[in-house]
Symmetry: C2
Subunit: 480 residues, 2 copies
């Protein structure tokens, strides 16, 4: 028995054939697509099914955000226009004051923003990920959630985090009707030792789940790792047997040709987050088209809003294509169709979900978005990939379906009370800044971040961060 | 007598003080701001005035788009993902088939898109600009319109265009209640001879209007001009006395330190169009922050949709800041407040309208936008410049006022019938492609542009374009 039928849409399947159905329909049963084709042929009348008329709409797979940190959504705007090296300690000086309720509200806000801009699945790594899982379960979105691991607060805390991650996997993996998959999330090579990462790899193997880690993030990381291990970050993890198809790499700015071959060989995915790189002035800007040609599953990610500052994948698609063209000095690289694949079918593969989501095909999960193309910026209507990547806005998304359930309809949320969430977020944010000792004057919202950076707390964190980046490894017996 | 009063808004004045009014009001009389301040103080009850309650809204100056080509709006999506050298002939192969009605519809569509995303004033240069003027007059937006000049179709046609430009200035300058200013628009140094440009300069001086020209667009232009004139494009026009405060330069990619000094000295403005550079893979990417420090009035422009593919300045603001940070490898350059100035007060100065628009001050024209900040992607609410530049969407614009008249309210147009325009644009677009001999199959919208490029008409245009770029100057007696 069909539960939902979408009729009369222009359907972009992303199933590899690049085919477009001009008057297409989708039938959904038990949360999966049971049929797809011409409206006249497949949309049999089924009295029990809800029907969504998609006239004037483009119907496509929900977008996949391969790297973000929803716990940081409450930090939007606190660390703008700063140098890359200042950014992380600036955020840490606030995040250490966040409560579980802050994290829950931040996740709800982030999920609302993602649903409203067409994202149906996201991959997150955060030190306290449980509140995000709770918000995912409640709101109906799909997620790969990595429980964050770091040794930056000492070995005792690191083991506490490892236990927390094991518990998280035991409690949440496969939950929310299968919408949640759990992972282990070692933060980075400059905050986790080799032993600690191997411990996470073993635990992930034992529990049959994946991993998610920032890697090859900066020239400074490359220099430090090479000095200690005599090889690159990727070569180091490859030699240790850590890289596998269930391993997701975030960023990968500094990878060389050999690294690219190793990642392709190991089958690991990469999350490319171009706007976040822009926010922090990160370099070198990666040639993602060469990664794709090497056979790596490269997805698109927004990163957290503290370094973006939004979770809108339409913004990320446009930025990914245009910036790569600028650095390649060639308008032909990363064409619209290619970045659309990154945000759908390839992004799904990078998360190990290629058989379940990422394209509209019979048998796959019903994760679907409807985009209202009756807008001046989407006319004339032709060249659909071009319109989606170079002209569309997240706010053109009219309807969002995950697992066959409607989460957004006529741009109204069905599973969350956005006015209430925003009110609670605002109060929590102001209380959080106060606890963090920030003298940020909300009545003067143009206050320069330079003022903020003078705060003692930030300066202390900055020193800790620099020590981590430059000296930490020498204190570890086990090398990098 | 007040005609319109905006109350209870958070007002970002952009008047140089970076001040924010938390519960602010604006009083509008005869199309100008007559008072601005706290709602309680300035918003006296005036029974004849329309009142707009801006609770939950951010109130700021309307955005200024310093460089676009509305006649090309109908070409959206026809030349995606191509090499820079192929792009212009690809468009020319279609534009030579456009009718006056096509241009009128294209202008209406572009104006609708701009109003819907918060632009209240734009600067356009196009070979047939009269239909754009007609659309500006009808819709209520403000514009600087340059009548395009080129010698690429021979001397006879070039003189026809010069006469057309003179007639355009005579007929349209200062019209539509002063909302339209006319200019002379020599296309570029590779399509206009020195004599022709000097003729335009003389005409502009005689008629007391400005000029608008693409300049220093590519390394190829730089090489060609240096070979012929022994100096850069900027030095060449400076030496001829063409650069003045009423001269607007589009792009300026290849300008050197001396060029920057000359432009600052002459007082000419520059329109920076970063997304268009991305679309075409243009280089070198300009260090606009150094231009600003040199005292040049640098505005933001979208360029035409054929190379963008949208007219949304919020997209352009975000892209301008993030790309410059990437190329500078420094997250501190072009901070949010700086790019907001480019799109408002400085953009207005680049167009010679600094005394009339660009900030909210008593005495200035009432060109105002209201942005609905009650959206998940704009929470928590603080750091207004950061929210506007790194998170806001054009679709967050709720209300648009130009010259004191409301053009958009609750996102509904008051001066145009968008459904009718879009229907006519679609029909005109399909007829245009047919006339141009394009075999573009609208039923297969993912068709690669490589297929299109094989078309004979395009190949012919490409040859003409290459000849223009490489050999044209040698045929001219008068040098560059």
């Amino acid at each position: 028995m069909a539960e939902l039928i979408v009729t009369h849409g222009t359907i972009l399947t992303m199933d590899g054939s690049d085919s477009i159905l001009a008057d297409g329909a989708l039938v959904i049963e038990n949360g999966r697509i049971s049929a797809i084709g011409d409206t006249k042929k497949v949309a049999q009348h089924d009295p029990g099914a809800e029907v969504i008329d998609a006239t004037g709409m483009l119907v496509m797979p929900g977008l996949v955000n391969t790297h973000t940190h929803l716990g940081a959504t409450i930090l939007r705007g606190i660390s703008d226009d700063v140098d890359g090296i200042e950014w992380m300690p600036l955020n840490w000086s606030v995040t250490r004051h966040t409560t579980q309720e802050d994290l829950y509200l931040a996740a709800l806000l982030g999920i609302a923003e993602m649903i409203a801009s067409g994202t149906t699945c996201f991959s997150d790594s955060y030190q306290d990920i449980e509140q995000t899982a709770r918000a995912v379960a409640e709101t109906g979105i799909r997620a790969e959630l990595a429980s964050g691991l770091t040794e930056r607060n000492g070995r005792k805390d690191a083991q506490r985090l490892m236990e927390q991650a094991r518990s998280f996997v035991a409690e949440w993996n496969g939950k929310a009707g299968g919408r949640i998959h759990a992972r282990f999330g070692p933060h980075a090579l400059y905050t986790c030792s080799t032993d600690y990462i191997l411990q996470a790899r073993q635990a992930a193997d034992d529990l049959h789940v994946g991993m998610h880690m920032h890697l090859a993030e900066s020239p400074l990381e490359m220099k430090t790792v090479k000095k200690k291990a005599g090889e690159t970050s990727v070569q180091h993890l490859h030699a240790l047997g850590v890289l596998k198809p269930d391993f997701l790499i975030a960023h990968a700015l500094t990878i060389n040709e050999q690294d690219i071959r190793l990642i392709a060989e190991d089958g690991s995915g990469i999350a490319h987050c171009p706007q976040s790189l822009g926010k922090l002035g990160a370099y070198p800007f990666p040639a993602v088209d060469t990664w794709i040609r090497a056979g790596i599953h490269v997805g698109i990610g927004t990163d957290g809003v503290a370094s973006n500052n939004n979770l809108d994948l339409f913004e990320e698609l446009r930025f990914a294509s245009l910036t790569r063209k600028l650095f390649a000095r060639d308008g032909r690289v990363l064409p619209a169709g290619e970045v659309l694949r990154m945000a759908t079918v390839t992004g799904a593969k990078a998360l190990g979900l290629g058989n379940e989501i990422g394209s509209l095909e019979a048998g796959k999960k019903a994760d679907i978005i409807l985009i209202d193309v009756r807008k001046p910026h989407l006319a004339p209507f032709h060249n659909i990939p071009g319109l989606l990547v170079y002209s569309a806005l997240g706010s053109d998304v009219d309807t969002v379906i995950v697992d066959g359930k409607v989460l957004l309809r006529n741009r109204q949320f069905t599973t969350l009370d956005i006015a209430d969430i925003m009110e609670r977020v605002q109060a929590a944010f102001q209380a959080l800044l106060k606890r963090a000792g920030w003298n940020l004057n909300l009545a003067e919202p143009t206050q320069s971040m330079a003022t903020v950076l003078k705060l003692k707390a930030t300066q202390q964190s900055l020193k800790i961060f620099q020590a981590l980046m430059e000296n930490r490894q020498s204190k570890e017996e086990s090398g990098v």
